[in-house]
């Protein structure tokens, strides 16, 4: 019963060819495996970056409306009309807008370093 198949039909050359194929496959496999630690490390880093809770950036609060202090410079009291009329005949009347009526607007913003001063006349 032992020789029911006949002798083994493989030669030494067949065995050598099989060994070469196996060793080549083993080397390829080892080459692939050498990349694995680097790949795994990269994957872990990416995963950590993705999963790590991100700090939410607070949205900018709207700036409070600027406080405007309107300072009106004191105006000299107008001359009485009768006096003005009497003097008009002698001297030409000066333009009324000559009267300096200074208006200073002091605008403060939320930023303490920024202050807008507007001086109007």
């Amino acid at each position: 019963m032992n020789d029911f198949r006949g002798p083994l039909p493989l030669t030494d050359r067949d065995f050598a060819a099989v060994r070469a194929k196996v060793l080549s496959a083993v080397e390829k496999r080892r080459g692939r495996l050498s990349y694995m630690p680097a790949l795994a490390a990269t994957a872990v880093v990416l995963l950590v970056l993705l999963v790590m809770p991100r700090q939410d950036v607070e949205p900018m609060k709207p700036l409070p409306p600027p406080k405007v202090h309107v300072v009106v410079a004191p105006q000299p009291a107008p001359a009485p009309i009768a006096e003005a009329l009497s003097s008009s005949s002698k001297e030409p009347v000066a333009a009324t807008h000559d009267c300096a009526c200074d208006v200073t607007m002091n605008i403060t913003t939320a930023d303490p370093d920024v202050r807008i001063i507007w001086i109007g006349r």
């Binding site: 029911f4 198949r5 006949g6 083994l8 493989l10 030669t11 065995f15 196996v22 060793l23």
Partner: protein, 186 residues
């Protein structure tokens, strides 16, 4: 010039090579292949009966050995473990071959000429081969391992992944079928 197979009768030598191969030594793995390839090929030849299939089985067996060498338990017999892998590879190959049988012509083991003394014996051998071929795979593998590889039943059971009782039943059935087949031809 052909390379001579490395004879490793000392289990310690083989164990050293296994340990070295585990740690990535390709030369040690080649030594394991050289020491075991003929036994693996012989078993595959008996199970498959096709020279090309035997080469494929041999290659696949050693690739699996390399892949699973880390799982090999040193307390157990290496050849038992190796035979188990070989049998599994042959099972897979045979299933694939059965699938393709409908599409491709197969050069069967029967085509390989075996040196025979006389025609009567040649006829008996051919009939025996056919008888074994007709057996279901489990019975065929069991009887090949038990009667051709001359392994003890317990070892056959271990290799096939079944119980010794099951193997005994399979072998008994296989023998009856072979006897009937041989007698029917006379």
């Amino acid at each position: 010039m052909t390379a001579l197979p490395v004879m490793m009768d000392e289990p310690e030598d083989l164990l050293d090579s296994i340990r070295a191969a585990r740690s990535g030594d390709s030369r040690a793995f080649e030594t394991i292949m050289r020491a075991t390839e003929r036994r693996v090929a012989s078993l595959a030849w008996r199970l498959l009966g096709d020279a090309e299939d035997v080469k494929e089985a041999l290659q696949e067996t050693f690739l699996r050995v390399y892949r699973f060498l880390g799982k090999y338990d040193e307390q157990r017999d290496f050849f038992g473990w190796l035979y188990r892998i070989t049998v599994n590879v042959c099972r897979d190959l045979e299933s694939r071959r059965r699938f393709w049988r409908f599409f491709l012509p197969i050069q069967h083991a029967c085509d390989v000429e075996a040196p025979q003394e006389d025609f009567a014996r040649k006829d008996d051998v051919a009939r025996l081969r056919r008888a074994i071929e007709t057996l279901p795979q489990k019975e065929r593998f069991a009887i090949i391992l038990r009667d051709l590889e001359e392994l003890p039943t317990e070892r056959v059971a271990e290799i096939l992944g079944s119980s010794p009782a099951t193997v005994r039943v399979q072998i008994s059935k296989a023998r009856i079928k072979i006897r009937k087949f041989m007698e029917s031809g006379r």
